[in-house]
């Protein structure tokens, strides 16, 4: 089909391809390699991996990550869906863009700052404790920050926004005639939602849930700021290997394990979506 030689095409894609190979594939290979070859030069060893399965403090990090991420995903979807529905169906058309922009606005602070802001709300002397103590509801401040709960709140705050956007787009894409037909045949708004809207938006929710899972499980910032070191999640464990001990081998092995978990989730999700399509 091309009348000019493919050479121009190759020339055009080489820079991007080269960059990907050198700065993405090779580093990945290096990381893989170093996970099997500790830096003390003792040769091939699976120690970094067996260590993970052997020490509770290590594999609990993965369990914690999965639990927290699962919790965050479920809560965020439950909160975001009705919100997205309100923005798509209840808010008058001409205000929808503004309503969406407002919902996204607070996330234009940097991600680090946004997580820090929750500390301002949840810490011992922060807004919540100070207010509750002042009004006599509490006699002394309670531990809200540096807990799993704080991490979950911090994550949910972000992912409710993200899921609202994706579910909104999904809802908008749905032909209005489906709902009209359902109404015409006697379905009230609730039954129209259960029988028609929800099933048709389910694939979109699935994609959003997967996105949430992947982004949350790999996030270092939120758990570190809000969860502290009481309960470690995978990203924190990984960073600890580098920071404290300079142990690239362990860090690499843990990163690979994390990546495998995400890949597994991806395969499950893709399989589910394929089943949905038939």
């Amino acid at each position: 089909m091309a009348l000019i030689s493919n050479r121009a095409g190759w020339a055009s894609v080489s820079p991007a391809l080269g960059w990907t190979l050198v700065f993405f594939v090779l580093p990945f290979a290096a990381m893989l390699a170093i996970s099997f070859y500790p830096q003390d030069g003792s040769g091939f060893s699976l120690a970094a991996y067996t260590q993970f399965f052997a020490s509770p403090s290590y594999y609990y990090a993965l369990f914690n990550s999965l639990e927290v991420t699962g919790l965050v995903t479920a809560i965020s979807i439950l909160l975001a869906y009705p919100f997205a529905w309100i923005l798509a169906d209840v808010v008058p058309e001409r205000w929808q863009r503004l309503a969406l922009t407002l919902a996204v606005l607070p996330f234009w602070t940097s991600y680090v700052v946004r997580s820090y802001s929750w500390l301002l709300v949840l810490s011992e002397n922060g807004l919540v404790n100070a207010t509750l103590v002042k009004f006599g509801i509490l006699s002394a401040p309670i531990q809200l920050a540096n807990t799993r709960g704080a991490t979950v709140i911090g994550f949910v705050h972000f992912f409710v926004m993200l899921l609202t956007l994706t579910i909104y787009a999904n809802l908008k894409q749905l032909s209005p005639n489906y709902r009209k037909a359902a109404a015409d045949l006697g379905a009230g708004p609730i039954r129209s939602f259960i029988h028609v809207v929800l099933p048709l938006t389910l694939p979109g929710i699935m994609v959003g849930a997967f996105l949430t899972f992947v982004l949350a499980i790999g996030d270092y910032i939120t758990p570190q700021i809000l969860g502290g070191n009481n309960e470690l999640l995978m990203p924190q464990l990984i960073m600890m290997q580098i920071g404290r001990r300079g142990d690239f081998t362990s860090a690499s092995a843990l990163s690979i394990i994390l990546m495998l978990v995400v890949t597994l989730a991806y395969l499950l999700c893709a399989r589910w979506l394929k089943i949905e399509r038939t």
Binding site: S175, N177, Y178, K180, A181, A182, A183, D184, L185, G186, A187, G188, R191, H195, V196, P199, L200
Partner: protein, 316 residues
């Protein structure tokens, strides 16, 4: 016979135009009414108001004597077949068809039986377990029809149901629609811009333009006695002279001087069973239907004639 549907002085404003302007109409039970008009004529707006998807700015809609103007679609005795069919993609054909009964609390066994009945009526009994995306356009149209008829509405509303089909399929579906309507006995109100479709299906044609009703009656009456210039040129073709309309098949070419005078042949279009001839005089453009074997040449001067009773006086 009492009217099934009465539309009283319906108006619908839209931005700075009137989508419907003081429209009044009566629909008889068991009739096949076609709302015919170009885009923007208000025919779809009228249908949407009848279905309850749109509120009129003023006026009333009465169905079986009851004022339904503010009644939501679910509670009206109407059912709509949408232009894109709007079949629920995640449900089987059978579940699609049974949906209306499910909303009415009918039990599963009865639903299945009734759905099978309706699918047999539209000729799709074997497709009950399929999903919409596995069906052709014509098949989907029939499922949409079955889904709407199963709830036994007083009136069935169809929004350009055959628009997405090719010519041959359209003709076939027209025959089927007519047969089903006669069989079921429900009043159909069918919106289209295709005047041939209107003539083939309707026993009551309503010609609309600019939010108003231009003409109304049986297809034979509207064709033979068009009330307005618009109606004369939209439903079939006409030559307009001095506020009179003459149908192409009523103009003849004669040897001696004709009532209509002389004209120059401008274009000859072969249409298989006839030739469509355009001829021009100083004042008028004539549209003439001639037998297929006629030999004429472009530029030739001819004398045109017609019987006096074929010159129809237009009211508007």
């Amino acid at each position: 016979m009492k009217d099934l549907v009465t539309i009283e002085n319906l108006s619908r404003d839209f931005a700075n135009t009137k989508a419907l302007n003081d429209v009044s109409l009566a629909i008889k039970p068991g009739s096949y009414t076609v709302l015919l008009g170009p885009s923007g004529s208000g025919k779809t707006t009228l249908l949407s108001i009848l279905g309850g998807f749109l509120q009129p700015s003023s006026g009333r809609v009465l169905i079986n004597g009851a004022d339904c103007t503010n009644v939501p679609p679910a509670k009206r005795p109407t059912a709509t077949v949408f232009q894109d069919y709007a079949l629920f993609p995640h449900m089987t054909v059978e579940n699609n068809v049974g949906f209306g009964l499910r909303m009415r609390g009918v039990d599963s066994a009865t639903r299945t039986a009734r759905a099978e009945e309706m699918l047999t009526l539209v000729g799709l009994a074997q497709s009950a377990g399929k999903k919409p995306h596995q069906l052709s356009g014509g098949q989907r149209q029939r499922v949409a029809l079955a889904r709407a008829l199963i709830v036994e509405p007083a009136v069935l509303l169809l929004d350009e149901p055959l628009g997405a089909l090719d010519l041959k399929l359209r003709r076939q579906m027209q025959d089927e629609l007519k047969a089903i309507q006669k069989r079921v006995g429900t009043a159909f109100i069918h919106v289209t811009h295709d005047q041939e479709e209107a003539m083939a299906l309707a026993d009551h044609v309503v010609v609309m333009n600019n939010g108003e009703i231009e003409d109304e009656g049986t297809p034979e009456k509207v064709y033979a006695q068009p009330a307005s210039r618009f109606s004369a040129t939209f439903m079939g073709e006409s030559t307009i002279i001095n506020n009179h309309a003459i149908r192409p098949e009523h103009i003849t070419i004669v040897k001696s001087k004709g009532r209509l005078g002389s004209a120059t042949v401008a274009d000859i279009v072969y249409q298989g069973s006839y030739k469509r001839v355009l001829a021009k005089s100083d004042a008028t453009q004539f549209i003439i239907r001639m037998p297929a074997e006629t030999t004429l040449t472009v530029g030739e001067t001819v004398q045109l004639d017609c019987a006096s009773n074929h010159m129809i006086k237009l009211l508007r």
